[in-house]
């Protein structure tokens, strides 16, 4: 079920009211049933994959907790293999086979493995990573194994963050399912405001900018450099509004019921370095990689070359996490290189500091440049965009389907968003009259200026 749908509005109202009306001991059942319906609204059969992951990790958690020594590690490895196998099958199989076919054909050999015609289950990478986080934390002794199958299932399936995060940690989320939350109007107001503004970011900003981005990136050969540069900058804001909008709705709808999900974005476009940007962009994923991969590889407690390698490797995997395409791998690698250069610069030239505004601009430019690989349909397209970008003429016409008013409006929205994020990161909701006014105003604006085509969120594909 998409957050930007009528179906979700009705679902949200029904689930939230029932949540507060039902006795605490059965609330988990309501949330689990609701989450199943939420997920099955995409494609009912997808739920079987989730059931498999849940069953495997539920038992793995218990076995890991009860085992000692090598057995403990063995159970963890089994659980990780099961999770990664699901990901590999649905997400990476065809990528592997395509590359294998290309490699074998170089030696005039044919590939015996078939390409699978399966649809990628929505949000698979998110809930798989959340499930893996549980077994790793149980293995590390930071989390007790959850004995209640229903509550464990809910940990993996909790509907607000099921398909696109934030990727939660068991220590944060599991205890909340056992906490009895009461109706707190202040909290409800703040949650609803987050939902409303998240919706605004998605339907008014992201989906409007997407029109230019999709046109330009869909037909790279017939676009000029200026159009592609504008489309790439728009894509940076589209991706941000799309994903942070989703996160806001997820965090807000959970907050209305009392749940506190982790923050996923913190004004990333005001970052002064790529390292800082990754502490503010998709925080739940970057911290996942830091906690479970980077630290496992030795983190900072290794020799400098090894640390650089670790960093590069983590970002390479992070790129691959986003999608089974070489473009994503390059995107990840580019960020690895950015970070290594940034760290090397800090070490070699610690006193060299640009003015803050320039640092922000450079960071944004580097990030936006990397997005060319993220968004381009093929590697050839990405190269073509870069070539055209470096040979652009400012006198070339802007080949977009926007009229002057819509172009102006889009730029205004971006500036408005940046000003809002800079000065009012959270919209205040203490004053109830002002809350009602702003809430209704944001909803009206979202409706009047929103693009409603039931567009999926970009990150659903991951």
């Amino acid at each position: 079920m998409l957050f930007n749908s009528l179906q979700f509005i009705l679902f949200f109202i029904a689930i939230t009211i029932l949540y507060f009306k039902l006795p605490h001991k059965v609330r988990w059942g309501l949330l689990l049933a609701g989450s199943c319906y939420f997920y099955m609204a995409f494609k009912p059969s997808y739920i079987l994959i989730l059931v498999f992951t849940i069953v495997v990790d539920y038992f793995a958690g218990i076995y890991i907790e009860n085992a000692v020594g090598v057995k403990r590690k063995l159970f963890l490895v089994c659980s990780l293999i099961a999770n990664i196998s699901v990901l590999a099958l649905f997400k990476y199989w065809n990528f592997l086979i395509e590359n294998l076919t290309a490699s074998l054909s170089f030696f005039s050999l044919s590939n015996p493995f078939p390409i699978l015609t399966i649809v990628f289950p929505i949000g698979l990478s998110f809930h798989t990573f959340q499930a893996m986080s549980y077994t790793i934390e149980v293995y590390r002794g930071h989390q007790k194994a959850e004995k209640h199958f229903g509550i464990y299932s809910l940990y993996v399936m909790f509907y607000p963050q099921l398909v696109a995060g934030p990727i939660e940690r068991p220590q944060n989320l599991l205890p909340q399912f056992r906490t009895e939350f009461y109706w707190d109007f202040e909290r409800v107001k703040s949650g609803l405001m987050l939902v409303a503004f998240g919706m605004f970011k998605k339907v008014v900003i992201a989906d409007r900018l997407a029109i230019v981005v999709n046109d330009a990136y869909g037909d790279v050969n017939n676009q000029n450099g200026l159009t592609l540069v504008v489309a790439t900058i728009f894509f940076a804001f589209q991706a941000y509004c799309d994903f942070s909008g989703y996160s806001d709705i997820a965090i807000g709808s959970a907050r209305v019921m009392g749940f506190k999900l982790m923050e996923n974005f913190r004004t990333p476009f005001f970052s002064r370095s790529i390292a800082e940007l990754w502490k503010r962009w998709h925080i739940s994923l970057s911290s996942w990689f830091k906690d479970y991969l980077y630290i496992s590889l030795g983190g900072n407690r290794v020799a400098l070359p090894r640390m650089y390698f670790n960093l590069f490797f983590v970002f390479l995997i992070s790129g691959l996490w986003h999608g089974a395409k070489w473009n994503f791998v390059i995107w990840g690698a580019l960020h690895g290189v950015y970070l290594i250069i940034g760290m090397a610069k800090d070490k070699l030239l610690p006193n060299m500091k640009l003015p803050a505004v320039l640092q922000i601009l450079v960071t944004f430019s580097l990030f936006t440049f990397s997005l060319i690989f993220f968004r381009a349909n093929t590697f050839t397209d990405a190269v073509s965009i870069i070539k055209k970008t470096f040979t652009l003429s400012l006198h070339a016409p802007l080949l977009v389907s926007f009229n002057a008013n819509e172009m102006f409006f889009s730029v205004f929205l971006i500036i408005f968003l940046m000003v809002k994020e800079r000065f009012f990161f959270a919209i205040p909701t203490q004053n109830t009259t002002r809350f009602y006014f702003l809430f209704v105003f944001i909803l009206i604006c979202s409706y009047l200026f929103g693009i409603f085509k039931l567009n999926q969120f970009i990150y659903f594909q991951f």
Partner: protein, 337 residues
């Protein structure tokens, strides 16, 4: 107490709406008059909500009238054009049965009458339907009159007939077609149109601003467009499929099976919009075509009055009258004693 009552009422309404709209079976029980009500200003207005095109569409062009039933049982297997017709359009038909392409109709054939089948397709769907759809599954002949039935959406799986995951279109259909909702929708659409020159992607406005068209039929790259280049091989392939349908139903016991294509609105209203591919004429003139046809293309081309609704994809009352009169005079009259 009152707060609780309201809360439970809200839950009940939300759940009821979700259940209703996620069930194709329950949705099919909604009265046709309500569905017609939501289309009262035409399907293209329904998509765009441009108030300049909010013009009522006449749904029942032919009122109940005395029939002169003859010797013919008429079966019309067709699309949304044929939905608009009824038995009073075919005054010479003894029995009239409309079968939608999405449904499966189990029927007996009365051998004391002439059983005539017309397979009607809009030009925009013609290629797609004959390329992908097996029309031979739509009508099944049974001997027992008790076995006569219609299975709606017969190609869907059993689960698909009872559960539809995405309910938004249905919710919109049920909740937002009252005058107040339309006023709000029109307001949004007009802001976007006047300020951003943006209308719903699936609809285009004609050059003279008088008509609405579907984008798919205007875009020459689209499979549905009559301005798309179509090769002789494609024409031959479609002809073969028409022949297969013709032979199948002839073998099933129908006395005659007619092919009928209703021209796209754009190439009748605004033929200068692109280069017409002459799909209908090329099919009708194909020397391999076995099936007799009802030539709506020539009929419509010669007409000097508007034959299509302004804010709807389909024909208007005049278009329907012209076509059904031809069916009456050239097909039904032929078999009527």
């Amino acid at each position: 107490m009152l707060k609780s009552l309201f809360a439970y009422l809200a839950v009940a309404i939300c759940l009821a709406l979700l259940v209703l709209t996620s069930s194709p079976y329950l949705m099919s029980k909604i009265p046709k008059s309500y569905i017609d009500y939501t289309f009262r200003y035409g399907d293209l207005y329904k998509f765009t909500n441009l108030s300049d095109y909010k013009i009522p569409v006449v749904k029942n062009c032919v009122s109940q009238r005395a029939k002169k039933p003859g010797n013919v049982n008429l079966f019309l297997l067709g699309d949304s054009n044929a939905i608009l017709l009824n038995e009073y359009n075919f005054e010479l038909a003894n029995e009239y049965h409309y079968i939608n392409f999405q449904d499966q109709f189990y029927t007996t054939l009365d051998k004391t009458k002439k059983n005539i089948l017309i397979v009607e397709t809009g030009e925009r769907k013609l290629h797609l339907y004959y390329a992908n759809v097996d029309y031979t599954e739509n009508i099944k002949i049974v001997q027992d009159k008790n076995a006569v039935q219609t299975i709606t959406n017969f190609k869907r799986t059993r689960l698909g007939r009872h559960f539809q995951p995405n309910t938004d279109d249905n919710l919109n259909q049920i909740l937002f077609y009252d005058p107040v909702s339309l006023f709000v929708k029109d307001f949004k659409a007009n802001i976007n149109h006047k300020v951003f020159n943006r209308i719903e992607d699936s609809v285009k406005i004609s050059s003279d601003k008088k008509y609405l068209y579907t984008t798919e039929t205007v875009d020459p790259k689209n499979l549905h467009s009559a301005f798309r280049v179509i090769t002789d091989e494609e024409i031959n392939a479609i002809t073969e499929n028409i022949n297969a349908v013709y032979c199948h139903y002839k073998n099933l016991g129908f006395d005659e099976v007619y092919f009928a294509a209703i021209p796209n609105k754009e190439n009748m209203v605004e033929p200068t919009m692109g280069t017409y591919n002459h799909l209908i004429e090329r099919l009708q003139n194909n020397k391999n075509l076995l099936s007799p046809y009802i030539d709506a293309y020539t009929l419509f081309k010669q007409s000097s009055v508007p034959l299509y609704e302004i804010s709807d994809t389909h024909w208007n009352c005049e278009g329907q009258r012209l076509w059904t009169e031809t069916v009456n005079s050239t097909v039904l009259a032929k078999y009527t004693k």
